[in-house]
Structure formats: C-alpha cells, structure tokens
C-alpha cells in the first residue's frame, strides 16, 4: 500500500474552509508526483460539506467526531492527528497556514518527529525531494528549504495555492471515527467575532488606508470602497499605532503578510515594513498625492492624486459595474 500524505482540512462553523481545498489540491498533486496516497483529515462534530473534498481529488476523508470538537482545542487536535499519523505511518502532512493550522502544525510535528515548514508559498519536487519556498524577513527575502526529517509537515500560506477542481461530480468517501474522551486540557470556550468583516489574511481583495486619510473619521472612505469590491479593510502600522484602527487590520512586518489578487493602497506611502508585507500581491493599485511615494515602485496602476477626491469616485465606478 502506498504511504500516506494527509491533508488537514479545517472546518469553521461546521463547514470546510476554502483553504481546506487548497491543502487538498496540494496533497493530491504531491501524492501523484511522489506515488503516495492522499487522504483528508477533518476534526469536528457535524461537518456539512466534507465530501466536497472529492471534487479536488481527495478520495477518502477521516472524520474524527465528538460534540466537544466543533471548536478548536490545541491539546485534542494535536493528539488525534499525531496518533493517527503515527499509526498509519504518514510521510507528509499538509496544513493550511490559518490561525488554527499555524498553531497546530508545530505541535503535531514534534509529536511525530517531523520537521515543519511554515508559510510556504511554493512547493516543488526535485530529485524526489520536496523543496519549499518561504518568505523570510516578512518577504524581504525568500528561502528554498527542505527537511532532513523522515516525516515532513508543510504549512501553506492561504490564498496562494490553487484549489484545483478535478471532478465536479466526485465525492469523498467519509470514514467517521468517534473520539470518546478528547484531551480538552486547552480548549476554546467562546468565539468572539469581530463585526462581520472579512479578515485581511484570507481576503482575495484588500483595500488599505494610511496616514493620508488624516484621521479615523475618514476611514469610511476606505470601508466603502472595500464594501463595493467585497474586500477586506487593511491598515498601515502608522494608523494602527496611532490607534485609528485595530491591530488585526495591520498589513506588514509586525502585522500580517498578505498575497491577495488585488491590493489597493490608499493614502499610504509604503514604508519598507509595509511593502514587505504586501508586495507579493498579484496586482497593486496605489492612490497617493505624493507621486514620489515608494508605494508607486511596487504598484501596477497608480493615481497620484487626493484620496478624498479619488476614493468616492472609485467606489461609485465600482458600484456601477457591479450593479
């Protein structure tokens, strides 16, 4: 029997996240290239759409089930995955680099004597070995790395790897394993959602604002454009440190490193820490009065004008084409 590559499929609110399908696709691709058997792992209680992993080529998913496992528990999730990986002699584990995956992967890796590559943005095989590319110094440099351990964990940055549809009509076979006494020595007792907004770490489009907005009271201009685009709101370190915006919106070296398909930078100059965190975005738009601002060096399209004039006009134009 072929050795296994396990894709850890994350659920939130009882549904697999999009990032679960990104992990599925990578596991399926590597399984093909390395002659392994790809299998999905889901931990949760009633999860609605597990079989959808089949569309991305995952033939079988193991669903570890218990009514205390809907929410994340570092201790329980770590034990379940590492016990299963050891029992089955899994060679590779693929995690998504979400808040959950980034917490979980290193714990599991220690238990199964695996090395762990975090935040990978590219994974390829060279002479039978997995080589991953990962940003360091918030993206100011990239390293190609490999693992010397026999078992390997690979954690992939959300939004970078494609979820590749293999067969629209395929479904995964699901094997349910009931967990009787999960180790809940660390457990999530409550989730406090921030007001219905998309998170920059997961968004496909981000609209960010900086000091050029002149005050927190003007950030509605950024929010309105973000709403029109279905985008997340981001912020520069300067405005977070000034207390205008919450830290969870900060993009850059001491905030989040992001790679959306479109990044719209409004009234921010592009400090080196900020550029490091967003220059790998696929397309970048800069709107800034100062045409010498460094943000224009990384922007694909720029308007060297006043955000107070341009943002409302842009929001209107986007609304027009979306209606």
């Amino acid at each position: 029997m072929a050795k296994k590559i396990l894709a850890i499929l994350e659920q939130r609110d009882n549904r697999l996240k999009r990032t679960a399908f990104e992990a599925s696709s990578l596991a399926v691709r590597l399984a093909g290239e390395l002659n392994l058997e790809a299998e999905g792992i889901v931990i949760g209680n009633d999860v609605e759409n597990i079989s959808e992993a089949g569309k991305y080529g995952i033939k079988k998913v193991i669903h570890f089930k218990n009514n205390n496992l809907s929410n994340y528990s570092t201790s329980a999730y770590t034990k379940i995955i590492s016990d299963y990986a050891k029992e089955k002699g899994a060679d590779y584990l693929i995690f998504s680099g979400t808040a959950l995956g980034k917490d979980l992967a290193p714990h599991v890796s220690v238990r199964i004597n695996a090395g762990c590559l975090m935040d990978c943005v590219d994974v390829k095989i060279s002479s039978g070995e997995v080589i991953a590319t990962r940003p360091v110094y918030a993206g100011k440099a990239l390293i190609d790395v490999k693992l010397k351990s026999a078992v390997k964990s690979i954690v992939i940055r959300p939004n970078v790897f494609k979820a590749e549809l293999k067969d629209e009509n395929a479904f995964s076979e699901i094997e349910v394993i009931n967990i009787d006494n999960p180790d809940l020595s660390a457990k999530v007792t409550e989730i406090k959602k921030s007001e219905g907004k998309l998170d920059v770490a997961e968004a496909d489009i981000i609209v960010s604002g900086g000091r050029g907005l002149r005050g927190p009271e003007n950030f509605h201009l950024v929010e309105e454009l973000a709403d029109a685009l279905g985008a997340a709101v981001g912020a520069s370190r300067a405005v977070v440190d000034a207390g205008w915006r919450d830290h969870r919106e900060q993009v850059g070296q001491t905030g989040k490193t992001v790679s959306p398909s479109l990044y719209v930078a409004c009234g921010l100059s592009g400090a080196i820490q900020h550029l490091a965190g967003m220059s790998s975005s696929k397309y970048i738009v800069a709107i800034n009065k100062d045409k010498e601002a460094p943000i224009f060096n990384v922007a694909d399209y720029g308007i060297a004008g006043d955000v107070f004039e341009i943002l409302p006009a842009l929001t209107e134009e986007i609304k027009k084409i979306k209606s």
Partner: protein
Amino acid sequence: MKIAVCVSHVPDTATKIKVGTDQKTIDPSGVTYIVNPYDEFAIEEALKMKEKFGAGTEVIALSVGGDSNKETIRKALAMGVDSGILLKDENPRDSFGIAKALAEEIRNLACELVFCGKQSVDHDNSTVPQILAEFLNYSCISVVVSLKVDGNKVTAEREIEGGKEVVEAELPIVIGAQKGLNEPRYASLKGIMAAKKKTIEEKPAAPAEGLVEVMIMKKPAEKQPGRILGTDKSAVPELVRLLREEAKVI
C-alpha cells in the same frame, strides 16, 4: 514563582535585507539589531505578572544565539526583568534547535509561566512557543492578545481570522504574545542603570540537530513600477477598465 521570557535579537524592521555571500543567510553588515518586536509584549506581560504576584516572583530572560544577543537581554533587564541567561551558539539554529535549548534551561529553572513573542521577525516561523511547550509538556496558547492567570487557571484570547477565540488552559503554560496584548513600557533611566548591575549568565546552548536545511536565499523578483494613470478622478474610469480587462481581478 519563576517566569521565563524568551527573547530574540533580530534585524530592525526598517532594515533593507541583503543576501550574504553564502547565499543562505543575510549579509549582517550595516544591519541594526533590535529586540524582536513581539518579544516586547512578552516582556511587558511577564513584568505585569510579577507585579500581580508580588514578592517571591522572579522574571528571567533567556535568549539563544551569539554574544550580540546580550544587547537584547540587557534591554529586557532595563525594562525590569530580574536576570538573564544567554544560551550560547554562534551558529544559526532552526526553531527546533532554539526551542530545544530553551526547554532544557526552563526545565532546570522550573518556570511555570513562559512568555515568548508569537514569532520572530527574522525567519517568521511562529513555531517556537508551540515546539517549546511540546518539549516541556506544557500547555500552550499562541497569538495571545489578552491574558488572565488566576491560581492555576489561565484564560486567554487569541487572534483568529475575523475575531478572537477565548481559550482556557492550566499552568504550566507557554504564551505566544501578539501585538495588542499590552503597551510595552519604556526602559527608564533608572532601569537602564540598574540593568548594568544585573547578571547575564552565559552557558552553551544544549546541542540540537536542526531539521530544516536552507538551500538558497534570494531576493524576491523586483516589481517593475507600473503606470501612473493620472492625478485626479478623471483617471478612475481608466483604472477600473484596466482592473477588469487587463488584470481581470474585479
């Protein structure tokens, strides 16, 4: 109670990064090093715990690395940490190697509460707190923005996509500090003077075999500067057209 705070010595975030001649590490010339920004939240939280628990509580800063890491330990001492330990290894280590050295020492010290920054802004792995906790067989909560310790019970909020998780666990524990946990204090002049008298113990870091091999370091492809479409709102329709037809992102 003894509280450990793990600190790392990293290039200033305003620094330009150049690849070194070995093509595996950065060129350190002209680079200013600072206390890892997330570690400042870890230090502050450790000091707040000391204030809360009162007499008999001791905060110890630990760092794994070369001699220059003493500057970072010294800054922690100036903020109010009681003593420091440098676990010496001039060669770079991966997260497993760093966590291994920290775990050996923390086990000897019997610290029940361990603070780390949630990640170091050099290799950005965000794994040391979790690996360290595994080696110590402690609980762990990473990316913490709020913390309460009451007897043995630990309640923390950790940042997740679109919100926060409230996590409950027990001591002993490793906490990965995230920005937002607190406002780190500045070292006072008195603190800086006092730090000069505090001891930094030096000992060799416990040996560890790294699991990660860096094959090559490179700079990301330079982006070609794009087009400035105009200076006022008359450029907006053209921008939208390009985003739809050329970039195809909206």
